[in-house]
């Protein structure tokens, strides 16, 4: 059986990749993907612990996260399309005003 620490390290790497991508990327879609990456990194640690302790609540929590993430993706992509339509760019540094 694979030890739980492997999962946790992988989860940490995924989360760190997400954070770094969030911080250094300027494209809105990439940033959005980095957020998904972080969520999935966390999901991985949840299921790893759930398997370790034979407990269902971790898996249930992952479902919740997936549902929220799916909703968020739907809303987020819609916003991104709206932003692109009005500004014709996806560079976050140029999208720094709430108002037009």
């Amino acid at each position: 059986m694979v030890p739980v620490s492997y999962y946790l390290i992988l989860s940490g790497i995924l989360f760190a990749c997400g954070v770094i991508g969030f911080l250094i990327k300027r494209n809105l879609i990439t940033i959005f993907m980095s957020i998904e990456l972080m969520l999935n990194g966390v999901n991985l640690s949840f299921v790893a612990f759930a398997a370790q302790w034979h407990h269902l609540s971790g898996q249930i929590f992952v479902f919740f996260v997936m549902v929220v993430a799916a909703a968020e993706t739907a809303v987020g992509l819609a916003i991104i399309i709206a932003v692109f339509r009005t500004r014709e760019t996806l560079n976050v540094d140029q999208v720094n005003l709430l108002k037009l």
């Binding site: 954070v19 969030f22 911080l23 250094i24 976050v92 540094d93 720094n96």
Partner: protein, 647 residues
């Protein structure tokens, strides 16, 4: 219980007048201002006359209670009034002379700006002076004491746009503060040891105490501290320096406050506290020495002054010295007698001097006067009466009071008497010098008048000297009559007898009456001294006007010293004023205020700004930098928890 005389009305009336003129006078016509001021001041005078008329039917000392002021434990202070023979004398002098000077001021100040302000201040002064005189306890007296100082300050600085007047007012106020400090400590001692400031309670507590012959006991301390206060208010050595400068005020003010009434408050206070002084012979000696020295010292300065008001100012200091000399030899009634006659003739001298100044268009330098007797005969006549009175010529008022003091001084110690007679000689000399320089010879003012045109006072123009209006002359005449006959109340010891219930037999017990021949000799000597002074002035300033210059050049350095008032002002400036100013500037201002207090406040503000500047950098508005901070914060928390976990 004798019926109430409503004594509170006496000070309250002038206060009301001051309030009306002070608050609404700006909109009044000059006539209305005069009507208000004279009505309320005259009302006080009438009240004083009423009190005098009812006086014989009173049970003395008569006290009246007005209201509780405050209570602290067993210590109780009331607003209350105290009336005895001494109060009555002061009351009549203050309201009478004060009323006359009010009338005179109408004419003198008519052309001046701030007319209503002047009369509001005058009435305010009357209120405080009457509070001082009528007070039933030391604290109420102290209110009056401080209040007359305030009125004096306001009136000296009446022409406040003139720098010298403004600083003279400040000087008077500050020098008086030194004296008041002594007075206050004396009051604290009274509270501590007798638990009261009420005159009757303090005096009944003091009277059973024995005489402090040796050392520096409680009563001696209180008496000396009271004397410090009196020296400040009554311009005695070493606190006399403010009075000559106070001549910057309008002349009626000099007459009322700085000659007739306020400056005598110190004498009144010492006389009022005589039960304390009687039991402290050492303090009395100090009083006598200070008075004697002041009399002589100020008189010598008076010889060299050329400003007509400055001569009178030094003369006032000198005469106050006589009064303290009298108090110092426990001849309180003689001191009060001289206080009264001095109020008449010195008030008259100042008013007449004001009339002279008025006549010559604002000139105060006697070297620019001369020959004025033909131009202003009425002023000349009244001023002559006053000059004879102050010089002590029989039968004018000053003769009787001064002679009484000298006789009592002789009984106490012939040294006092000798200095007193010498001072009488000098007094006679400088007063007749003033008289001759002002009224005799040729008028010297005309040729310089045109040059001085720009500097001229607002009175008159530069036509020939002109007599003052009747409104100024009538008070002069009344005071001249009083200066002439005012001394007669003292003939045969009547005045002393009248005051005897206040000062008691204790004051007279020390000395038996002088033998008749000694008395005659003393009178003859003092008359000779006065005559000699007169003759010398006649010789130097009428017959041989070239002589004074020669004598001055022979005396050389000594003359210069006296001319510069013994350099006392310079000495005080170097000893007290300069160190104080320098210390305040360098240590307190630059050091403490700027270096510590300001620095603390400013550095706090600077520190907050620097910290905020640094913290502001985090809020860049850049979304990703916020995310970076969040990530860094999270990393920090996790690192901490891991570290704690490992440990």
């Amino acid at each position: 219980m004798t019926p109430s005389l409503h004594l509170w009305l006496i000070p309250a009336l002038p206060l009301l007048g001051a309030a009306i003129n002070g608050f609404f006078g700006r909109r009044f016509s000059r006539q209305t201002v005069v009507a208000v001021a004279l009505a309320f001041c005259g009302g006080a005078f009438l009240m004083a006359l009423y009190v005098a008329a009812r006086f014989s039917s009173l049970e003395l000392p008569h006290t009246e209670f007005l209201a509780h002021w405050f209570r602290s434990g067993n210590f109780l202070v009331n607003f209350e009034f105290y009336l005895d023979q001494l109060t009555l004398v002061m009351l009549l002098v203050v309201t009478g002379v004060g009323f006359l000077i009010h009338i005179y001021s109408v004419g003198y100040m008519w052309e001046e700006g701030g007319f209503y302000r002047f009369f509001a201040y005058l009435n305010l002064f009357m209120f405080f002076m009457l509070t001082l005189v009528l007070a039933g306890n030391y604290l109420q007296m102290f209110i009056g004491w401080e209040g007359v100082g305030l009125a004096s300050y306001l009136l000296i600085g009446f022409w406040f746009t003139k720098d010298s007047a403004a600083s003279a007012g400040k000087k008077a106020f500050i020098v008086n503060r030194i004296g008041d400090f002594g007075f206050l400590i004396a009051l604290f001692l009274l509270i501590k040891h007798f638990g009261s400031l009420n005159f009757q309670q303090v005096f009944s507590a003091v009277s059973p105490l024995g005489v402090e012959t040796a050392g520096f006991g409680l009563l001696t301390s209180i008496a000396l501290l009271l004397m410090v206060g009196a020296a400040g208010k009554s311009a005695q050595i070493p606190l006399y320096v403010w009075l000559p400068d106070a001549m910057e005020g309008p002349t009626p003010v000099s007459a009322l406050i700085h000659a007739a009434t306020m400056v005598t408050a110190g004498v009144y206070m010492v006389a009022r506290s005589h039960l304390i002084f009687d039991r402290a012979p050492n303090a009395l000696t100090v009083v006598a020495i200070i008075g004697t020295l002041t009399a002589l010292f100020a008189a010598t300065i008076g010889i060299t002054q050329t400003d007509i008001k400055k001569v009178l100012a030094y003369s006032t200091i000198s005469q106050l010295g006589y009064m303290f000399m009298a108090c110092g030899v426990a001849a309180y009634s003689a001191g009060i007698f001289h206080l009264m006659t001095h109020a008449f003739f010195k008030g008259l001298l100042f008013l007449a001097a004001g009339s002279v100044i008025h006549a010559v268009g604002g000139e105060q330098d006697m070297r620019q006067m001369g020959g004025l007797k033909q131009y202003i005969p009425m002023t000349f006549a009244t001023m002559s009466v006053a000059t004879f009175a102050i010089a002590g010529i029989w039968p004018f008022a000053g003769f009787f009071s001064k002679d009484e003091i000298l006789a009592r001084a002789y009984q106490a110690n012939p040294v006092y008497w000798f200095i007193g007679v010498t001072t009488a000689f000098i007094t006679s000399f400088y007063m007749f010098r003033l008289w001759y320089m002002t009224f005799f010879g040729d008028y010297r003012g005309r040729e310089v008048a045109d040059q001085a045109h720009a500097l001229a006072h607002s009175h008159g123009g530069h036509r020939d000297p002109h007599e003052s209006p009747m409104v100024m002359l009538v008070p002069l005449m009344i005071l001249a009559v009083l200066s002439f006959i005012g001394g007669w109340v003292g003939i045969g010891g009547r005045f002393e007898h009248f005051l005897a219930p206040v000062f008691g037999e204790g004051a007279t017990v020390a000395t038996e009456a002088l033998s008749h021949s000694t008395e005659i000799t003393l009178i003859a000597i003092s008359l000779m001294a006065a005559g000699l002074g007169w003759y010398l002035a006649y010789l130097l300033y009428l017959k041989r006007p070239d002589l004074p210059q020669k004598i001055a050049s022979i005396l050389g350095g000594f003359y210069d010293t006296v001319l510069h008032k013994y350099y006392i002002d310079e000495l005080y400036a170097a000893l007290f004023v300069k160190p104080l100013v320098d210390g305040s500037t360098r240590i307190l201002w630059h050091g403490v205020d700027q270096g510590v207090i300001d620095a603390a406040v400013n550095d706090t503000a600077d520190g907050a700004r620097h910290v905020s500047d640094a913290a502001r950098q985090m809020q860049s508005g850049n979304l990703r930098s916020y995310a970076g901070w969040v990530a860094a914060g999270g990393a920090l928390v996790i690192a901490y928890m891991i570290w704690m976990g490992v440990r």
